[in-house]
């Protein structure tokens, strides 16, 4: 049975000032109320997550003098999933003088997002991007440099200028270590209290405001409550709903899903990004997929055999029997088309039976020309660690034979709805980084997530949280009954999971759910597939709650229990994702509805009916849709074309 849903009142961002777009952030900063330094010390801010967004936010709030409590589920804040980002970070520095500007980055991001993002937010992101690079360099982030000692840049999918700063293939690692070190400095200074190996399992809402969280100490199993004046969620994306994704194994939706059930609206859950360059699946036991940075598309050429069923080795297929399909279909952008387009093109050629490797689910990414043109050394300098990683996983040497790649789930543009201040629909609950829905519309451009996470954490949130906390005198006391109820809910769920004692592991359910989502709500969605998913998910969820086997007990380290709790939340999220995808009958960005395509098979938007953010409110009777209409004052809405 399909989940029943209703349409509620429209929703609106009331925080972005009006006036010329280039002045809005300055205006907001000036309007934002300040907290005097003596009071800051008395105000507690909880930051859940220590990735680029949470790490930078916690460090900065600590520097400003707030009492910060920071949480992550790993054993050290340095291990947040941001560490895995490879390719780079965008910034409108225009150091190359190639015509880049804040306005162009803004324009590219709005267009790349297929006109489903808010102009004010995106403009601010582009503005702040330049400060991020300054900040990172000052912290000692070792970006790639040219011989003159200045910063090097590269170009990335969806852009015709070179604005991506990078640190070999480890940009995320280096930026995160910068934020982590700033955070550790604040921990040493006593402004930040760090709680590693703690998983947030509930938000405490009292008097209509977010006032704390309930966490499980993953080592002792103890359930703890932590109270605060504001709560910031920086818990990353929910791509692991697909089980197989490029995300770290622990990435989850639990934190934002619990917040959703406590009143925070969930925006555009169906917007998922499928990354075109990942290492294909090798077998049933596969536990995750590995991304090959898309910077590889700068020099690698994507191709498949022209003939279906051609099973010769790549070296045996002559030039004129190869189809460099991206260069053929999109001559202007070639191998650098945005991710959604590259991914779907790969799916199409594989669907035609021209895919390569096991199961025909792969395409070649070939460096032979680059090696001939630049020399092996130059290619090694640029991509050495990626080539090594590929060889380690597949046992094949990409200097000699083309890589095989296939799309995989990578990023989620959807997330909790936030206003210009990054505040959710629960007062005092702020959401930053990949966990919110804010800046990327229906498709994120490469190298823009790192930019957004750090923009949110270093520059935006510290200002807007201050404005909220300036009114803290009126917050009142936290009602202990609300705290007790939140703790009890956590306790009950754990007991319930442990008591089923069925015959299937949580992972086996997760795999099945992931497969279902990939087949029915993946790269291509149809009315029929989504209805099937919406029928199957509740059945599977019911089986889960009746037949899952979670070993051990609530006390002590119990990794199987952690996983089971996350899977339980993924079921609920999966259902909302499918519903959102079903209701949005247009195609846009990463959301491709087969029913809505033009004669060339490109995504066809329906601006008349769908130029809005779909913000879903949770209710026991079924989700309620609140629409935030999107207005484009600066960038004219056009059908995207990368031809």
């Amino acid at each position: 049975m399909t989940l029943s849903w209703t349409v509620g009142e429209p929703i609106k961002d009331t925080k972005a000032p009006s006036g010329p777009i280039e002045e809005r952030w300055d205006t907001r900063r000036f309007q934002a109320k300040l907290v005097n330094p003596a009071n800051k010390r008395k105000l507690t801010v909880i930051v859940v997550g220590t990735g680029l967004a949470g790490g930078s936010a916690a460090a900065t709030l600590g520097e400003l003098g707030y009492k910060v409590k920071s949480f992550c589920y790993q054993d050290s804040p340095r291990r947040a999933h941001s560490i895995a980002a490879q390719g780079g970070i965008n910034a409108a520095k225009n150091y190359r003088g190639d015509g880049d500007s804040v306005y162009r980055l803004f324009y590219d991001t709005v267009k790349g997002g297929d006109f489903r993002a808010r102009e004010s937010n995106v403009y601010r992101l582009a503005q702040v991007s330049v400060n991020i690079i300054d900040q990172a360099v000052a912290q000692g982030v070792p970006f790639a440099r040219e011989y003159g000692g200045l910063l090097d840049t590269r170009s990335f999918g969806g852009a015709q200028v070179s604005r991506t700063f990078y640190a070999r293939g480890q940009t995320g690692q280096q930026l995160l270590l910068g934020a982590y070190q700033a955070l550790e400095r604040q921990i040493a200074a006593g402004t930040v209290e760090m709680h590693t190996r703690h998983e947030m399992l509930e938000v405490i809402v009292s008097g209509g405001r977010a006032r704390g969280i309930v966490v499980r100490d993953l080592v002792t199993g103890e359930i703890e409550k932590h109270l605060a004046d504001a709560v910031v969620l920086a818990t990353g994306g929910y791509g692991n709903v697909f089980f197989l994704s490029t995300n770290a194994k622990g990435c989850n939706t639990t934190a934002i899903w619990r917040a959703h059930q406590k009143g925070a609206m969930f925006a555009n859950p169906c917007y998922t990004q499928i990354h075109p360059t990942c290492i294909p699946v090798s077998g049933e036991y596969q536990s995750k997929l590995t991304l090959m940075s898309e910077s590889l598309r700068n020099d690698g050429r994507v191709w498949v055999p022209q003939r279906t069923g051609d099973d010769r080795t790549p070296a045996d297929i002559p030039e004129d029997e190869r189809d460099y399909y991206l260069e053929r279909i999109y001559p202007a952008f070639g191998n650098l088309v945005p991710r959604d387009i590259a991914s779907r093109a790969a799916k199409n050629v594989c669907d035609e039976g021209r895919g390569v490797g096991p199961g025909g689910l792969g395409v070649y990414l070939d460096f032979a020309d680059a090696i001939a043109r630049l020399g092996r050394d130059a290619v090694e300098k640029k991509y050495g660690n990626l080539f090594e990683m590929y060889e380690r996983i597949t046992g094949e040497n990409p200097y000699e034979t083309p890589m095989r790649i296939y799309p995989a789930v990578h990023y989620t543009m959807g997330g909790l709805w936030v206003d210009y201040d990054l505040q959710s629909t629960v007062p005092g609950l702020f959401v930053i980084g990949e966990a919110n829905f804010s800046d990327h519309g229906a498709n994120r451009l490469g190298a823009s997530a790192l930019m957004q996470g750090l923009a949110d954490g270093y520059f935006v949130l510290p200002t807007t949280v201050g404005d909220y906390l300036a009114g803290s005198k009126t917050f009142g006391d936290v009602d202990q009954a609300d705290v007790a109820a939140a703790e009890a809910a956590v306790q009950q769920k754990i007991e319930r999971l442990l008591s089923v004692d069925g015959t299937r592991t949580a992972d086996s359910f997760h795999r099945e759910l992931g497969r279902l989502m990939w087949d029915y709500c993946g790269m291509e969605r149809t009315d029929e597939s989504l209805r099937k998913a919406l029928e199957r998910i509740p059945e599977l969820r019911e089986e889960f709650w009746n037949n899952v086997k979670v070993p051990g007990e609530g006390e002590g380290l119990n990794q199987a229990l952690e996983r089971a709790g996350r899977v339980a939340d993924f079921f609920d999220l999966a259902e909302l994702m499918c519903l959102d995808a079903l209701h949005r009958t247009e195609s846009c960005g990463g959301h491709f509805r087969a029913e809505s395509q033009d004669e060339d098979g490109e995504a066809l938007r329906d601006d008349e009916h769908f130029a809005y953010v779909a913000a879903w409110e949770w209710s026991p009777e079924g989700p309620v849709l609140h629409k935030e209409e999107l207005e484009y004052e600066y960038v004219k809405m056009t059908q995207r074309s990368y031809k």
Binding site: E63, A138, G140, R185, G283, Y285, F459, T505
Partner: protein, 246 residues
């Protein structure tokens, strides 16, 4: 292929711990080492046994969360490879594989193969940073950095904080880890103002955590998945001696 696994099982820091033998069948050569353990754990759960606890997250060799001593070698015999990036094609059918946690007093065992590495965070807290509050930075191009310095700083900065160097060191020294950070920041112009105080504070914290001293055995670099070179330690010592002499 089929393997015999001898795995260290220890239920919390107060348990004495022991090796337990498990047989695993039908291991595919394309599996990663951790996927092989996943398969074992799925079976243990269904059989009503306690699955083997081990740390992991990214499974792509960058977060530094995973780490086991495999056949006596931290992260296994494959060079420059984290446990999660180790694949079963490097093992022979019928082999016996021993799997143990990092063993070092400053890394107490939490459970089975999971250890507490928070001492590393405290070493960073002591001085592994450049003090620059958000928003106070000058333009990124204000200070050019010679490419060679930037590249060398990057190489040192690739340390993932896994702790293999400590596990491999006969003295249980954290010198390679600490030196990697001191080298990274000390090679950059931005890192100069705090260079002396940094080395002093970090080395002292390292000692306070109970890590052993460095006697140049080189076991650390041999297992380091990121190939952090031994000369980082010489650099750390030089920086440290300079401050101590002051």
């Amino acid at each position: 292929m089929n393997l015999t696994l001898k795995i260290w099982r220890q239920n919390g820091s107060s348990d004495r711990g022991r090796m337990v033998t498990y047989e695993v069948q039908d291991v595919s050569p394309d599996m990663s080492f951790l996927e092989m353990l996943d398969v074992l754990n799925e079976r243990l759960i269904l059989e009503g046994d306690d699955p083997v606890a081990f740390d992991h997250d990214c499974r792509e060799g960058i977060c530094g969360m995973c780490g086991m001593v495999i056949n006596g070698v931290a992260h296994g015999e494959q060079r420059a490879t984290t446990t999660c990036q180790l694949h079963m094609r490097h093992f022979e059918d019928g082999a016996t594989v021993t799997i143990e946690p990092w063993r070092a007093a400053p890394f107490p065992v939490v459970k089975d193969l999971v250890v507490d590495r928070s001492a590393f965070d405290r070493i960073i807290q002591a001085g592994g940073f450049i003090s620059v509050p958000a928003g106070s930075a000058p333009d990124a191009h204000a200070v050019p950095v010679p490419k060679d310095d930037a590249d060398a700083a990057f190489d040192a900065a690739t340390c993932i904080g896994c702790g293999a160097c400590v596990a491999a060191c006969p003295n249980g020294s954290a010198s390679l880890f600490t030196a990697a950070k001191i080298t990274h920041l000390g090679l950059l112009p931005q890192g100069q103002p705090e260079r002396a105080s940094r080395a002093k504070a970090m080395v002292e914290q390292m000692d306070a955590e109970g890590f052993g001293g460095c006697t140049n055995t080189g076991e650390c670099t041999a297992v380091c998945p990121k190939g952090i070179p031994l000369d980082a330690i010489a650099r750390m010592n030089a920086d440290y001696i300079k401050t101590a002499a002051k």
